[in-house]
Symmetry: C2
Subunit: 534 residues, 2 copies
C-alpha cells in the first residue's frame, strides 16, 4: 500500500474576494476550561422553549431490496397495508429522543442544549464525527489530510465554491448539459460555463484536453478555466455515470493543467443495480452484503484525488430529505478553511435542529444501517425508472440502437401495417439512465416536418426555440410538466447550433408520485410527441 | 385614519449584481391543478425515513413575570425542583406531533411531507402566514404592500442585504460602535462603514444629517452612503434603545436623502420593563396584559416607514433558539423580490425541519401565548442585567453621573478611608442597558497611569491598542472572556483617535450561565480593572 501524502498548495486558486476572508477577525477567542465566557450574544440554554424532540423513524430495511411491482406507492399507508397483507413489507419504526441535555446513560449523541444554540461553524461535533467516518468509509480519498465541513445543501455549497475559487469574468468547464441551477448561479456572478462534450462514459477526457490545450484567451475573451464542475455519480440531467477509467483520465488532466474539480454528487448512492431490461421490471438484487454494496459503487473523484484537487459536495437531500438543508464538503483543508470563513460571514451553520434530528438518525442507523437504507431507496428508484421506460415501451415503438446503449423511439405501428412499412422517422432517443432520478430525451428535431423550412425562414436557433416551446407547451397543455433542455445548456443556443447540435432535449423526473401518475405522465408525453411529429 | 399607500420605487438602490438576478430563469413553471409534474429532482415523500416528530415544549407562562431572585438558573432541573418546593414555578410542558401527513382532524399546521422536501423559497405556507400575522400585529408598517420573507437568521440576512443593495466600493452609515460581524461582512465585500455618533437616544439624527449634507466624495474617496445599518430595538453592543422621537427624526432624513434603512433587530423583544435600580433586583411587573405589553414596546422603524425604505431583519435566535437558523425580512416587495432571487441561487430556503418545529410551536402558542413567552424571557434577561450590575456595585464604587444615565466606577474604598479622600480617578463608566444581552463598558484610558507616556512614545492608537490588549488579556488570564470594543468600531483606530475618542470599550454578555458564574465573572472583571489602573 502506497503511503498517502498531504494535499498540495492550491492557494493560487483562491478568488480575490476569498483572499480577504479571515474568520478569526470577526470573533472572540475561546478560553481554557473553567473560563467563564461573557463573549457571546447567546440565550441561556434553559431559555429554549423546546424540552425534547422525539423522532419516529423507519428501520433501515423498511424498503425491500427486490421491491414488488405490486407496491402501489412506496411504503405509503395503502402500500404498507397491502404489503402486510401479502407479507412483503419490512416496514417497522423505532424512535429516539433528543433531550434538553444528555443524561449519563443516554444512548443519544445529540442534545437540544447544543442543537438549539449557535453551533460551531463546523457543525455539532457529533455530526462532524459521523460525517468524517462516513467519508472515510465510502470515499477513501487518496491523500491524507482531507477535511470535511457541513453545509446547507449542495446548491449553496456550489455557490460558495464559486465565491472562494472564481472571480467575476472567470470561467469553468462543465458538461455540455449540466445542472441548470448550477449554471444559473455561476452566470449570476459573471462566471462563464465552458462546455466539454459528454459521451456515455461522462465528460470527454479527449475534448477536455483539447479545450485546455487549444485555449485562445483572446478569441474566447476569457482566461483559461481553472475549475471543472461535474457530477461524479449520476449526472444531472443525463442520468449517466462517469466511468471509473474516465475519472482517472480526467484526474490526470486535472493534475497536468493545475485544475480543481468541484464534484457535485447528490445522486451518488442512486446507482441502479442493473441496467434497464424490458419486461424485467423487478430484477433480483445483487448477492452482496450492505457493506459490499458500498464498495461496489463506482468510486467518486475523491478516490483518485492524491493532491487535494477535488471539492466534493454531498447532501442528505436525496437520502434523508431536502428539508434538512444539510450536506457537507470534502476537500483539502486549505480550500475548506476558506469555505468555513465564508460560512462564518454568511450562512453561519446549518440548522442545529436538522443537524440533531438527522445526525441522531445516522447515529442510530450506524454506517451498515445507513447503507441498507440507501440500498433500499436505490431499489425504489430503479423500480421507478423501469416503470417509466416500460410505459414508454407501451406507448411508442422503441428499438435499441446498435453499438450504443440508446433506445430510439418511433411512432407506434397500429398493428395493421406490416413490419416493413414501419415509418423510418425516429422521434427521439434516450439512454436508459444508470440511476438517479431523471430521463433525458433527445428530441429528433432534424426529423420534424416543419424544422428545416422554419430554420431557413428564420434561423436554426430560432426554429429550435420555437419548436421546443411548441412541444413543451403541448405537453404541459396535456397535463404534464417536463423541464426544457435549454435550461441545462452550458453554452448558448447559437453556439450549440454552430456545433451542429440541432436537436432539443427534455428532462423528465421519475423519482416521485404514485406509479399510476408516473405511467400516465410518460404515456401522455409519448402521445403528444407522436402528434407533434405528424 | 390616514390611508396607507404602496411603497415607492426604489429600483435605483439595487446593486449591479442583483440587477441581473431573476429567479424565474432558473426553474420550471408550475402547471394548473391536476398537472403531473416530472419537473423536479425530488424524492417521493414516502421515501423520507422520518415518520413523525414529537416536540415537548414549555407552556408560554413557564417563566414568571416577576422572577424570583431565588431562581438559581432559569427553569433548569434544579431551578424547577427548587421552585416547585417553594411554589414559585409555572413550569409545565405540552406536546405536539408533526406527522408524515396531516390527518383530517389534525390540530397541527405542519406535516413532514412538506417539511422534509424542498420548501418554496418563501418557506412553508403555514409559516409564511404566521410570520405575516405576527408582523402585522407587532410592527404595523405605515405602508400597505409590505411583504415578509423567511431567511436563515439575521447574519445571513444582512449579508444578503449587502449583496442586493451595495456594490463593492460603496459605503453605508452605521453607529460609531456596531455589531462586529455585520461590519466584518461588509468589509469582506469591500463595502465601507461610515460612523455616525450615537448618544443615549441612539444614532444621532443631527450627526447623520451633518454627514450626509457635507459629504465630500473626493475627500472621502467614497460615494455618499445610500444605506443605514442600525438596530431598532436594543443596540448591540451598547444595550441602548433608539427612542421613538429619534426614529421619526432619522426616518425624515432617510426620506429627504433617499436612503434605505436595514433595521437588524434581534433584541427587539428584550426591552426591559424597568430601568436598573440598585437594590431592586426584582421589580414588580407592569400591570398590563400580554397584548398590552406588545403595544408598550418602543416601535420599530417599520412603524414610521410610509415609503417602504426599511428592510427589517427579525430572527427567532433570541426568542426560540439560534439553532433553528430561522428569521425573516419585512420590507417593500421590490426589495424582497431581489432577496428572494438571491436566496434562490444561494441558501434556497431555511431548514424545513426547523420551519415545522418552530412554526408549529408558534401555532400552538398563538400570538398571545408567544407574547407571554417573550415577556417571561424578557423578565429573565432583566433579572440577569440586575444581577450583573449588582455584582459590580459589590466590587466597585459606582456613582451616578449627574444629568446622564451613566454609572461611573471608581476603585472601592477600603472602608478605612473617609469619603473625602476617595480617589478621584474614574476607571470606567457604563449606561445600564435598556434590555438585550450586553453591557458596554467605557474604560477610562485617559485616566490610566501609563497611557499618556505610552501615547507620546508611540502613538495614541498604538498606546490604546497595547493597553486594550493588556487589559483584555489580564481579564482572560483571570478566567473571564469579554469581547474587545475595537471589534465593534465602525471606523478604524486612527480615525477614532482623530475624533478625540481616547477611551476603549469592552462588551460583556449577561445573557447566559448560572447566576453564580455571572456574578463571579463581573466581580473578576472589576477586580482586574482596579488592578490594571494601579
Amino acid at each position: 500500500m502506497s503511503e498517502k501524502h498531504d494535499a498540495v498548495d492550491l492557494s493560487h486558486h483562491i478568488s480575490d474576494f476569498a483572499k480577504t476572508l479571515d474568520s478569526r477577525l470577526a470573533f472572540g477567542k475561546p478560553g481554557p476550561p473553567g473560563t467563564i465566557s461573557l463573549d457571546g450574544g447567546v440565550p441561556d440554554t434553559e431559555y429554549f422553549p423546546i424540552e425534547s424532540i422525539t423522532v419516529e423513524y423507519l428501520k433501515p430495511d423498511s424498503f425491500p431490496l427486490k421491491p414488488t411491482d405490486a407496491l402501489p406507492h412506496g411504503p405509503g399507508v395503502l402500500g404498507w397495508i397491502a404489503n402486510v397483507l401479502t407479507g412483503k413489507s419490512n416496514k417497522t419504526t423505532d424512535s429516539y429522543t433528543i433531550s434538553r441535555r444528555l443524561g449519563p446513560d443516554d444512548q443519544s449523541k445529540f442534545e437540544l442544549k447544543t442543537a438549539l444554540t449557535y453551533s460551531p461553524i463546523t457543525g455539532l461535533p457529533a455530526l462532524e464525527t459521523i460525517v468524517a467516518d462516513w467519508v472515510k468509509r465510502v470515499h477513501q480519498p487518496a491523500y491524507s489530510n482531507y477535511a470535511t465541513l457541513v453545509d446547507v445543501g449542495a446548491s449553496c455549497a456550489w455557490s460558495s465554491c464559486l465565491s472562494i475559487l472564481l472571480n467575476p469574468g472567470d470561467s469553468f468547464i462543465t458538461d455540455r448539459y449540466a445542472y441548470n441551477a448550477a449554471l444559473y448561479q455561476a452566470r449570476a456572478r459573471d462566471v462563464h460555463p465552458v462546455a466539454v462534450a459528454t459521451d456515455l462514459d461522462g465528460l470527454s477526457a479527449v475534448d477536455l484536453e483539447h479545450v485546455l490545450a487549444n485555449w485562445d484567451e483572446k478569441a474566447r475573451g476569457l482566461r483559461r478555466p481553472r475549475v471543472i464542475y461535474t457530477q461524479g455519480g449520476i449526472q444531472n440531467p443525463t442520468g449517466l455515470m462517469i466511468s471509473t477509467q474516465r475519472k482517472k483520465d480526467i484526474y490526470d488532466i486535472v493534475v497536468r493543467y493545475d485544475l480543481i474539480i468541484v464534484e457535485d454528487d447528490p445522486y451518488y448512492f442512486q446507482q441502479a443495480s442493473h441496467p434497464y431490461q424490458h419486461n424485467n421490471t423487478v430484477p433480483q438484487p445483487q448477492k452482496q452484503s450492505d457493506e459490499e454494496w458500498i464498495d461496489s459503487l463506482v468510486p467518486s473523484f475523491l478516490r483518485f484525488d492524491y493532491e487535494g484537487r477535488v471539492i466534493r459536495l454531498d447532501t442528505f437531500s436525496k437520502t434523508i430529505g431536502p428539508g434538512g438543508r444539510l450536506g457537507y464538503y470534502t476537500g483539502s483543508p486549505q480550500l475548506l478553511e476558506k469555505l468555513q470563513a465564508l460560512h462564518q460571514s454568511y450562512i453561519t451553520f446549518p440548522s442545529g435542529v436538522a443537524q440533531a434530528v438527522f445526525g441522531e438518525l445516522l447515529h442510530r442507523y450506524q454506517s451498515e444501517g445507513f447503507a441498507r437504507w440507501l440500498r433500499g431507496l436505490t431499489s425504489q428508484y430503479e423500480l421507478r425508472r423501469n416503470w417509466a421506460i416500460d410505459a414508454l415501451y407501451d406507448a411508442l415503438d422503441l428499438h435499441a440502437k446498435s453499438q450504443t446503449r440508446a433506445l430510439v423511439a418511433y411512432a407506434p405501428s397500429d398493428g395493421q401495417i406490416s413490419e416493413k412499412s414501419k415509418p423510418k422517422t425516429s422521434l427521439m432517443s434516450f439512454v436508459p439512465p444508470d440511476g438517479g432520478m431523471f430521463m433525458w430525451f433527445n428530441i429528433h428535431l432534424h426529423n420534424h416536418p416543419r424544422y428545416h423550412a422554419l430554420a431557413r425562414q428564420t434561423s436554426p436557433a430560432a426554429a429550435k426555440n420555437a419548436l421546443a416551446t411548441e412541444l413543451w407547451t403541448a405537453i404541459a397543455d396535456a397535463g404534464v410538466i417536463l423541464r426544457r433542455g435549454e435550461l441545462f445548456a452550458s453554452e448558448d443556443d447559437e453556439e450549440r447550433v454552430r456545433l451542429g447540435e440541432e436537436d432539443i432535449f427534455l428532462r423528465a423526473s421519475f423519482s416521485y408520485g404514485p406509479r399510476e401518475d408516473l405511467e400516465k405522465a410518460f404515456k401522455i408525453f409519448a402521445s403528444v410527441l407522436v402528434k407533434f411529429f405528424e
